[in-house]
């Protein structure tokens, strides 16, 4: 019988996963909450199931989703990213209910999701790590004492991190002892609120690092390979905006070493399915393990473009017990790919989300080397209750320069009106010489505030067309009556 796979997600990633399911000849089943009732993922799926008014709480409701899955004879669930993707409880519930969870086993998610456990596993496997502590003691005085002792040993600044955090959340920098006393209880309270787990730990801060990550993929039979590196250094407040494959570091030996380390790390964690091993690279080209993300990542498209491997398709096949069809030596990195997250946000207003607005024009670029993973359409009203990602644009080129040129052309031809988007900001970015040189680290956006100085589409013809629309609509020119 045709396999039935439930996509426990929304937005562009749901559409991306549905495509892979349908290409495999399986039945794609979508879920949705009420605010998503005009969303594209429920139109492209073979079946769509309403799970509640939400917002968000139903996409996060493990019991409800498992119940729905069982009622609809679901064989497997793909969690996408965000929502329940890295929730070990969800993977475990699938396992217990005989549903294939498309991702690593719950135990692995659990170990790697707990940053302190993860550090312990990596330490045992001799993986280089940024100096850090275990979970700080629950007793506040004790915790502060330990924290200050660590910080003074490795030197400020240090990072205070939520053990259960991830995706850039639950992290704060501490610069001195008095800040430590002040920040520790706040960080704990925040962690409790955000992750229902108030454990926190410390790590030395690597100043202005590059953020390099390695896509790894493993079957259930002990074969683990990597798909090369990605550079995700262009971030705003620890949130990635632009991702590049492969890393532009000109030291092949170093990159090979990083990739090999990633495979060792995945093996140490008994990792299966697709995952990402994140590293920080300091100015002296020392690299440190940061964490393993146990999910498909937003930026997986750049890796697909330079390797030719469909990661989501592979995920599904491996989850159902297939062997990896390729060995490490089969994987060739060819050319360059850049992905930009086109968000409904106003970069000039502190990237404030533009939810609630209707897309009045949607005209996307095309042609050689352009890939779009999105879910918006002309007339779509962006729900206010979800994230602001509209579409990921990934461009591919043989050389870095060619890729940047293609990116510029595509951004210039991208027209989205209604909500403000990050497109004009990215246009500034591609024209920046430092970006073009390919040499940037995580401090890049903070050091380039001028990228935010651009004007909206106030082209003369757009203004005149607005008047013509009004003359046409009213049947006379109200400004000449």
């Amino acid at each position: 019988m045709k396999k039935k796979i439930l996509v426990a997600n929304r937005g562009e990633i749901a559409c991306r996963i549905i495509r892979a399911i349908q290409e495999l000849g399986y039945t794609a089943v979508a879920l949705y909450e009420t605010p998503d009732n005009a969303a594209l993922h429920i139109r492209v799926a073979d079946e769509a199931i309403w799970i509640g008014d939400g917002p968000r709480i139903d996409y996060l409701n493990i019991d409800k989703i498992i119940k729905v899955a069982k009622n609809h004879n679901i064989d497997g669930i793909h969690p996408g990213y965000g929502f329940l993707a890295e929730n070990p409880g969800f993977a475990k519930a699938c396992e217990e209910n005989g549903i294939t969870f498309i991702g690593p086993r719950s135990e692995v998610i659990n170990n790697l999701g707990d940053k302190v456990t993860a550090r312990r596993i990596m330490a045992e496997a001799d993986i280089p790590m940024v100096p850090g502590t275990d979970n700080l003691p629950a007793d506040e005085t004790e915790a502060v004492k330990k924290a200050i002792e660590f910080a003074n040993r490795v030197g400020y600044p240090v990072m205070l991190k939520a053990t259960a955090g991830g995706g850039g959340r639950g992290i704060r920098q501490v610069d001195n002892d008095s800040q430590m006393k002040e920040q520790l209880p706040i960080a704990r309270a925040e962690a409790r609120a955000a992750f229902t787990n108030d454990n926190v730990y410390l790590e030395k801060v690597v100043l202005t690092p590059k953020h390099i990550e390695v896509q790894v993929i493993a079957d259930q039979y002990g074969h683990t390979v990597h798909l090369g590196t990605r550079d995700c250094s262009i971030q705003r407040r620890n949130q990635k905006l632009v991702e590049i494959a492969p890393s532009l570091i000109k030291d092949d030996k170093l990159l090979d070493e990083i990739c090999d380390t990633a495979v060792r790390a995945a093996k140490a964690a008994n990792y299966t399915n697709a995952g990402t091993v994140e590293f920080l690279i300091d100015k002296d080209m020392n690299f440190y393990f940061m964490e393993i993300n146990t999910r498909i990542q937003v930026e997986h498209t750049v890796t697909e473009m330079v390797t030719g491997i469909d990661i989501v398709r592979t995920q599904i096949k491996l989850a159902f017990g297939k062997k990896l069809l390729f060995k490490q030596e089969d994987i060739q990195i060819r050319g360059h790919a850049i992905e930009m997250r086109i968000n409904a946000e106003d970069p000039q207003n502190n990237f404030m989300p533009e939810g609630g607005k209707t897309v009045t024009t949607y005209r996307s670029p095309g042609g050689y080397g352009v890939r779009l993973d999105g879910f918006v359409y002309q007339g779509y009203t962006i729900p206010q209750v979800y994230d602001s990602l509209l579409v990921k644009m990934t461009v591919f080129g043989f050389s870095w320069n060619e890729t940047v040129d293609r990116l510029r052309r595509c951004l210039a031809n991208y027209v989205i009106t209604g909500p403000k988007t990050t497109i004009p900001f990215y246009l500034q970015l591609v024209n920046d010489p430092q970006f073009q040189s390919g040499d940037f680290d995580t401090s890049y956006l903070d050091n380039h505030p001028e990228l935010l100085e651009y004007k909206d589409d106030d082209s003369e013809v757009n203004k005149l067309a607005a008047l013509i629309a009004e003359i046409h609509h009213k049947g006379f020119n109200p400004y000449a009556a």
Partner: protein, 641 residues
């Protein structure tokens, strides 16, 4: 060569005109637009004609001034200064001429010297010939402008406004010319401003001859209107008797109330042996051909009445006000009463109010009073603020005689003599604090204004600000031809509209479908330079909802006023709110000032009390009976409390 070109000084110009073997022609495109198309001829059309008009070799092109500055920003959405700049680029040689309402400049109220100086200085960058008039022919009202024009080194053309009747003798007008020359000196062009197109050819011939007898070297410019169809006769008589320059315009746009065709003037005078020096008839024809196809798009602005109106000799309405007066009669539903108003009441009012010259703002006072007399029944019972000012002498002394006492009493009240004594006479206008005005404007438009923006703001504060905001939103719309800008009834689906923007870049807009949603919002789809775009139009007020509230009559408005519920007296715009909520007012206090047809009328309190609420705002468009504000009786208020 006799050609007069832009940049020549007044002495060179006068010398050239005096020595020329023939007469000159001014193309009064501005007056053509005002009189026959309600001032709506767009810059786009003027630019189409520019090349040939430049070749034609006119004394000047009258292209700004009068009401046109206001209409430029109010209805054509074009910067009057940018218009002149662009025309200057297209027509480097032809002198540009303006029409200036004396101390009222291009507005409707007197301005202080410093505003006049600033305005003249800014316009003088483009305008060479300054025709200046005062509707009372009261020379002191023009003196400030005379000084500033001469100081700017431009050509001053003072007017004597012309009319007919027993008082309007040659001697009177010659004495006015003397008065002007006393103030200006001899280096001027003198204009006979026949804004109504009044008098016979013989009458105009006699007048020109009388002035020339006294001042043989004076350069005379005759300006007329063709309302009765006979202006070519008057122009001919003027030239035969020594006028040096005459006004006419392009035949493909000539109508009924504006200037007659240039070519007909030339043909007529040629047979008398008088040549229009420097005018190339081929270019005159080519100018008309260049814009002929545009005329149908302006049809909506042509007069409700087609045909000449020889009865102008009776009612004397100026050509520039004919179209708008007939439109007002049509909209106000009293078109049928027009013969009565035009042929009986208006001439009577004219006589009763001193037989002065029916031209802005005096013509509006006559017209509004006549309409109100006929419509209201009670003659002079519903006087406008401007009529009151006229009687108080705020515009200057009556030229021939004062109105009868009963009119003063009717307008100013039983204690009219005391009112006249206390409030009467011309007021000194103090200089404005220009820095303060500049600051206010900066606040209103959110950026530092240019000098030219300040000038426009000082003439028409609210309309200028609206225009600046319009340009921010819609860009430089003068690039749109009348077929787009003045389009009625919407475009066809799939229709292609092409134009160049002000930077010269060409664009193509294709009209797509329109879609209305359940809330009444309409999305208009356009293909703009091959990109699909959509424009969302807010829901319109449903016709049913607005019509549900019945219009209330005049009596009812008065009844409501008597209990403190103050309503709009007629269709007008709010131009001043004189009170604030909580302010104490007494009977006769001005609450709100409304403006219609360039006339301001105070709405006064009929009760003593306190302003409880204000339900209108500055610039609001009012229908009769619309709520303005409420006044509560203090006693009642006490009881309530």
């Amino acid at each position: 060569m006799n050609r007069i070109v832009q940049g020549m000084n007044i002495k060179e110009v006068l010398k050239t005109v005096r020595e020329a073997d023939g007469y000159y022609i001014t193309n009064t495109a501005r007056d053509l637009s005002q009189s026959d198309f309600k001032n709506r001829i767009l810059l786009h059309t003027d630019l189409l004609a520019a090349e040939q008009r430049e070749k034609a070799g006119y004394f000047s092109l009258e292209i700004t001034g009068g009401a046109s500055v206001h209409v430029d920003i109010l209805r054509k959405q074009v910067d009057p200064f940018l218009k002149l700049k662009l025309l200057r680029e297209a027509m480097p040689n032809t002198m540009f001429q303006t029409l200036c309402r004396g101390v009222n400049l291009f507005g409707y109220r007197p301005y202080p010297q410093n505003v006049i100086r600033l305005t003249v200085r800014e316009f003088a960058k483009y305008v060479d010939v300054w025709r200046v008039f005062d509707f009372m022919n009261y020379i002191p009202n023009m003196k400030a402008v005379f000084e500033e024009v001469q100081a700017a080194g431009k050509i001053l053309e003072p007017c004597i406004c012309f009319s007919t009747g027993p008082e309007h003798t040659d001697d009177f007008y010659v004495s006015k010319v003397d008065e002007i020359l006393d103030v200006t000196g001899e280096d001027i062009v003198l204009c006979i401003k026949n804004h109504g197109g009044l008098g016979t050819p013989k009458r105009i011939g006699d007048l020109v001859s009388a002035i020339k007898d006294k001042h043989p070297d004076l350069v005379l410019h005759y300006h007329g209107h063709n309302t009765d169809g006979n202006d070519i006769g008057r122009i001919t008589a003027a030239v035969l008797n020594g006028a040096n320059i005459v006004d006419a315009s392009d035949h493909s746009f000539c109508g009924f109330y504006g200037p007659p065709p240039i070519l007909s003037v030339m043909q007529t005078l040629e047979d008398y042996g008088h040549k229009a020096v420097t005018v190339d008839p081929e270019a005159v024809i080519a100018s008309s051909d260049a814009i002929r196809d545009e005329r149908p798009h302006y049809e909506i602005f042509e007069s409700q009445f087609k045909g000449f109106l020889p009865t102008v000799q009776i009612h004397k309405l100026p050509g520039g006000a004919m179209g708008s007066s007939l439109e007002q009669a049509d909209k106000g539903g009293f078109l049928k009463k027009m013969p009565d108003i035009l042929h009986k009441e208006l001439p009577l009012v004219q006589k009763e109010l001193g037989n002065y010259w029916s031209v802005t703002p005096g013509s509006q006072i006559l017209w509004t009073t006549a309409v109100s007399n006929v419509q209201g029944g009670d003659r002079y019972g519903n006087a406008s603020g401007d009529l009151r000012n006229l009687l108080l002498g705020k515009y200057g002394p009556f030229p021939f005689y004062k109105p009868a006492d009963w009119i003063y009493e009717k307008v100013l009240g039983p204690k009219w003599q005391q009112v006249l004594e206390e409030e009467g006479g011309l007021e000194d206008i103090e200089d404005m604090d220009l820095e303060k005005e500049r600051q206010t404007l900066t606040e209103r438009i959110g950026k530092e204004p240019t000098e030219q923006q300040l000038v426009l703001y000082l003439q028409h504060p609210n309309d200028a600000v609206e225009f600046f905001k319009f340009e921010e939103k819609f860009g430089k719309v003068y690039v749109l031809p009348p077929s787009i800008f003045l389009k009625r009834g919407g475009f066809d689906l799939g229709e292609d509209l092409s134009f160049n923007d002000h930077l010269g870049k060409d664009h193509l807009i294709t009209i797509g479908p329109a879609q209305e949603d359940e809330e009444g919002k309409t999305t208009i789809y356009l293909t703009v330079d091959h990109h699909n775009r959509s424009y969302i139009m807010a829901a319109e007020q449903k016709a049913g909802a607005a019509a549900a509230e019945p219009e209330i009559g005049k009596e009812e408005i008065e009844e409501l006023a008597a209990v403190g519920d103050v309503r709009a007296p007629f269709t007008a715009n709010v131009c001043e709110i004189a009170v604030e909520v909580g302010q104490e007012v007494s009977v006769g206090d001005t609450l709100v000032v409304v403006e219609a047809m360039k006339m301001q009328t105070p709405v006064q309190s009929k009760v003593d009390g306190v302003v409880a609420s204000i339900s209108t705002k500055m610039g609001a468009a009012l229908k009769p009976g619309d709520k303005l504000l409420k006044i509560t009786n203090e006693q009642e208020k006490d009881e309530e409390e």
